[in-house]
Subunit: 261 residues, 2 copies
């Protein structure tokens, strides 16, 4: 059979980018649900589909129902889901597959490991898709669907997926917050953030050829106490940034000195 | 006149990449100094130049002497420098230009804002070069030289340069350490780090079109206490990572809640 039609439950960033990608691969979006009618309507317009803000009103004909809402809301959505013997997945990094077990049909997880914006469309063709399923038949269907979208499709269980999501918080969210700090530091001197872009691109570009451990540089790694002290003094009036600088510098020193011994 | 020949004082990562770049642009390296003869010899071989490990033995004929050593060593090198009425620069982000004032000739700063590896050659053509000089004539000479290498050459005073370097520690060194943490978290589950590369590339790619502040995502931004709690529990046996997770999540929440008010 295969999956040819989808109902999107959620109209946020992941639902939007996943929906746009599915359409590009000739999968039909039959309906978009969001508790906010205007969000559902706006994604439905792009997806050329129906929309609803009433869960009891879900289209009953789709091959697949994709729940793509905040982790907090998934359980609540599931408890109110008004469909029988259907295939249902969620797209969350952290929520175990088993929350879907109360449903009458088959179920699984369809987790694209990336960061999603509303403003910026994303090409998912190289994005790792982490797949988990209630049974081998469903697994095959979800793998087939993911392989239409991406060249990197993996079977990942709930425990591994939670670890991957935790690692992603460090690699993506915390990294971005380091950039927020850098931006603020420069702004106070009237210097535009884009001066850092070549440095940032090189920092990340390295990681395709050497490991993060090999790629580490900077005053803390060199144990350059004079610079560290000077930097901490420069941050005297910004206690939050000073705290980050101190903690991370100490941890870099500890981590790499352990490594030598 | 212009600058046609250089002595490199230092044979580390910056000296090496700068030296290789200068050669590609037909600037001659006359000599490489390092206190470690083997390092001097190995860079000299690539640069087709002399080398020495004796500062009293410096070649006296170069148009420019580039001091590219650790910040700690710069002052010591300067106090022992055995050249008269020559143009001398250092390449440090944090050391004020005025440390070069005791020298008899003209002086300046030639700071390439990037991250340098020994293993990986770098293309400096888009790297910002931060230039500062003792006098207008020297300034022009250094600007001309930097413009041979890069399309992004700026006059930056010592105070601004120190701020840029501090921002770079956040954007590059601390960012890389977030990747070290992500790598370690995955390793414990036997998952290879490269699963994160598309996410990381997207995280950084965004920053060419939206600001870090607009690009922020993640559990802390969404104030998703359930996930934050779960992640902290997963890190129970790794107190260092738990500390980073807690501090940065709290700061993300504080920063973005301030922002709303």
């Amino acid at each position: 059979m295969g999956i040819h039609s989808v109902v999107l439950i959620g109209a946020g960033r992941v639902a939007t980018q996943l929906g746009l990608t599915l359409i590009r691969h000739q999968i039909r979006i039959l309906q978009v649900y969001s508790r906010t009618a205007s969000s559902a309507a706006s994604l439905a317009k792009v997806a050329d589909s129906d929309f609803t803000d009433d869960l009891s009103n879900l289209n009953q004909q789709a091959d697949l129902y994709i729940i793509s809402v905040t982790d907090d809301s998934i359980r609540q959505i599931i408890s109110r889901l008004n469909i029988k013997n259907k295939l249902v997945v969620h797209t969350s990094g952290s929520v175990p597959m088993e929350v879907l077990a109360p449903l009458s049909g088959s179920f699984g997880v369809f987790y694209p490991l990336n960061t999603f914006s509303k403003e910026k469309n994303i090409n998912l063709s190289a994005t790792p898709f982490c797949i988990e399923a209630s049974d081998p038949h469903t697994e095959q269907n979800l793998l087939d669907l993911a392989r239409i979208i991406s060249s990197d499709v993996r079977l990942i269980n709930s425990e591994q997926r939670a670890v991957i999501h935790l690692a992603a918080v460090f690699a993506c969210n915390f990294t971005n917050f380091m950039m927020v700090n850098a931006d603020e530091i420069l702004k106070k001197q009237g210097i535009s953030y884009e001066i850092l872009l070549p440095l940032i691109n090189e920092t990340i570009g390295k990681l395709s050829t050497i490991s993060p451990k090999e790629a580490q540089t900077g005053p803390a790694l060199r144990n350059d106490q004079e610079i560290i002290k000077k930097h901490l003094e420069m941050l005297t009036n910004e206690p939050e940034k000073q705290l980050i600088y101190q903690l991370i510098s100490e941890q870099i020193q500890t981590y790499f000195s352990k490594d030598k011994s």
